[in-house]
């Protein structure tokens, strides 16, 4: 009896996988953060991906889209397990997502060794742009150093002579600090790498920063640490003494919360980014307007990049007429970045990191009183990351 049911089960399973093979569909795995405090970033990405699929009418070319979300819990080991499952069990054609640099670094090998495409929709750690670059890896975001490099340039232009730096102690945090130090010409009076992700109380570091007497304070605190940092910065009364310059800390996710908590201290603060909800192109207008209607708030850059990642995949699938075995064709298509990106036109470098503009943004109130950002000026035009030269790809 046992044997018979086992045979029936096996036949059924074989039957299911047969239909899966026959069905005309493209399988996309999306690894992001769906639990823990980081879930708010993952939710933004998930919303954007779902919106992208909706805008595509559920199809890439003639193929249906089979989308599988997976959770990394902000942990490299969890992210790698989720990636392994997507690659081995679900046998997806593309793996996209990855908010966190350490999670991406732990997971990249699983995808690339299996001969699949890996699309980062956020994380851009330096090794992946340099020595560990791979022909099947593409980014729809940036290399970690680029955004803070733009901020370093802004600091020079504003005449900031000395700087205090705070950043979390993990892969991206170190890249951010390296980035700003690469372009900032003044003196760095002190640096703190704080425990990540556990530390949310920055009293000791803020006291040190204040005692250093620097002209400005540069920080990188993504996710909930950003909210905690801004509160304590305001409570310590440092707004008037030491202006704040941030990257990836003040965004479409934290601003509504700051507004609810009445943290006026953040108003007018300046950030650098490759994208802004006010960027004037058709794709971005549609994305921002529909995102606001559907989810009730401004999209953050996490969402914009996730939205782009789906359209990059779509451009690849359509270029090969739905023949997903044609890896070379899809690679060439993606390399040309021939799709409507919400940031406008950009190109890919030899390491498949975007060569793109970086803007200075300012926190403002929109016409309805909601807190958001607008572009002040362009800091870098067609900027390429500094690690591209270490990448052996042509």
């Amino acid at each position: 009896m046992k044997k018979i049911s086992a045979i029936i089960a096996a036949t059924l399973i074989a039957g299911i996988s047969m239909t899966a093979l026959q069905a005309k569909e493209v399988k996309v795995g999306f690894v992001t953060t769906l639990t823990t405090g980081g879930a708010v970033l993952g939710k933004a990405q998930k919303n954007a991906v779902n919106l992208a699929i909706e805008h595509m009418g559920g199809k890439m070319g003639d193929l249906d889209i089979n989308l599988i979300f997976a959770d990394d819990g902000v942990k490299p080991e969890t992210g790698k397990q989720a990636t392994d499952k997507l690659v081995k069990q679900d046998n997806v054609d593309f793996v996209a997502g990855y908010i966190w640099s350490h999670v991406l670094l732990a997971s990249r090998k699983s995808v690339l060794d299996a001969g699949k495409f890996l699309i980062s929709a956020n994380a851009g750690p330096s090794p992946i742009a340099g020595k560990l670059c791979h022909e099947n890896f593409f980014s729809t975001s940036w290399q970690n150093d680029q955004t803070p490099m733009a901020m370093g340039e802004v600091l020079n232009q504003q005449g900031v002579k000395s700087l205090y730096i705070m950043s979390p102690n993990y892969a991206a945090g170190k890249n951010m600090v390296a980035g700003v130090e690469r372009t900032f010409k003044g003196k760095v009076l002190g640096k703190d790498f704080t425990k990540w992700p556990g530390q949310l109380d920055f009293s000791a570091e803020l006291a040190k920063a204040k005692a250093s007497g620097a002209d400005g304070l540069f920080v990188f605190y993504p996710g909930k640490a950003g909210g905690a940092f801004i509160k304590q910065y305001q409570q310590a009364g440092m707004k008037d003494v030491m202006p704040l310059y941030t990257v990836f800390t003040v965004d479409g996710i934290s601003l509504p919360k700051f507004q609810a908590g009445n943290l006026e201290g953040v108003m007018g603060s300046r950030v650098t980014q490759h994208w802004d909800p006010t960027l004037d192109n058709a794709q971005n207008k549609r994305f921002v307007a529909d995102y606001k209607t559907k989810y009730g708030n401004y999209p953050a850059f996490y969402a914009a990049q996730a939205y782009d990642s789906m359209f990059l995949i779509k451009s690849a699938v359509e270029a090969v007429g739905g023949d997903l075995t044609n890896m070379d064709g899809m690679r060439t298509a993606m390399k040309s970045a021939n799709y409507e990106s919400v940031r406008g036109k950009y190109t890919y470098g030899n390491n498949h990191m975007p060569i793109q503009n970086f803007y200075l943004r300012e926190v403002v109130k929109d016409s309805e009183g909601a807190w958001t950002t607008k572009i002040v000026k362009t800091v870098f035009e067609n900027h390429q990351d500094p690690y591209a030269k270490d990448c052996p790809l042509k």
Partner: protein, 307 residues
């Protein structure tokens, strides 16, 4: 060395220590007296923060929100004890760990369902949001002083409760011999329920006090519970006095390590080596301290005499 900075950092360390004490005191009461390992203690801390955050928006005032949230957390603690924890007392510590770990997952997901993943920033009234200049050059946020005052007050109150009241006497008696206490006609189950609720209230209070500084967020309990365990192990499990002293030591060592370790390291090694090793070492300091203390005093600094 800059003594103004040293003074400010000492106050910051004291504040962190007192906050740790609020969490650790509840943990040590439950661990020492009920002989129950409660990993979910941190989740109650998180619930305190979230309930207080919601009430702050509902009532428009942080202090009222705290006063009303405290009994709510106490009731939640009592209900958890009656429904779940009670049936685990008779089992071994490993089952406690397993059961309360499951409870963490349930409570975290519950918070996710009720309040969403975003976390809540808690606004403070204007008079608490400012700063106080203690003397020339030493400016401390008012709210951090409030935490120090509250923490010290609760510590004194607890010491009085445990050492000089009838309830405290029963608690201590229950810790040394629970069968004897119940044989003398004391409702030991009610007593244990009260102790658990007290521990929950203390943890909830800590969550309410930290929420305006960081925010109420999912998983905030997991960040403090490990440190709280370090505190009660250093202090001696079951000892309120030990928890107090250990919490202050841990708070000071952690804060001062984060503040001055890189400066110290730069004296003996290259700037780059100091910058990369100081954060790693300062994150480890309290564990190194714990290991050192356990090597010399395996029971902790102040083990309760009766055990």
């Amino acid at each position: 060395m800059d003594f103004t900075l040293l003074f400010i950092q000492t106050i910051n360390g004291l504040q962190l220590g007192l906050l740790l004490f609020l969490v650790a005191s509840g943990l040590t009461l439950v661990f020492g007296i009920l002989d129950f390992v409660n990993l979910a203690h941190g989740s109650i801390y998180m619930f305190g923060a979230f309930i207080c955050a919601s009430l702050t928006f509902f009532l428009g005032n942080f202090l009222w929100a705290v006063l009303i949230a405290l009994p709510i957390v106490a009731i939640i603690g009592y209900l958890i004890e009656r429904t779940i924890v009670q049936s685990l007392y008779a089992r071994n510590h490993l089952d406690h760990v397993l059961g309360t770990f499951g409870l963490i997952l349930v409570l975290d997901t519950l918070a996710h369902l009720i309040w969403g993943p975003a976390g809540i920033a808690v606004p403070l009234p204007q008079w608490l949001n400012g700063r106080v200049e203690i003397f020339e050059g030493v400016v401390i946020p008012t709210f951090r002083l409030l935490i120090i005052a509250t923490g010290s007050g609760v510590a004194l109150g607890l010491l009085w409760l445990v050492n000089y009241t009838r309830l405290g006497m029963l608690i201590r008696a229950g810790a040394s011999n629970r069968t004897m206490v119940s044989a003398l006609g004391i409702d030991i189950q009610l007593l244990f329920g009260l102790v658990f609720a007290l521990g929950a209230t203390l943890a909830g209070l800590a969550g309410m006090l930290i929420a305006p500084i960081t925010e109420a967020s999912i998983g905030m309990g997991g960040e403090i519970i490990i440190t709280a365990f370090v505190v009660i192990i250093i202090g001696g499990i079951g000892s309120i006095k030990g928890a107090f002293i250990a919490a202050i030591i841990v708070g000071l060592i952690d804060t001062l390590g984060r503040s001055f370790l890189d400066t110290l390291f730069k004296l003996v090694m290259s700037i780059e080596a100091a910058e990369s090793s100081a954060p790693a070492i300062s994150a480890m300091l309290i564990y190194i301290l714990m290991a050192a203390i356990l090597a010399f005093k395996p029971q902790g600094l102040f083990p309760p005499k009766v055990r």
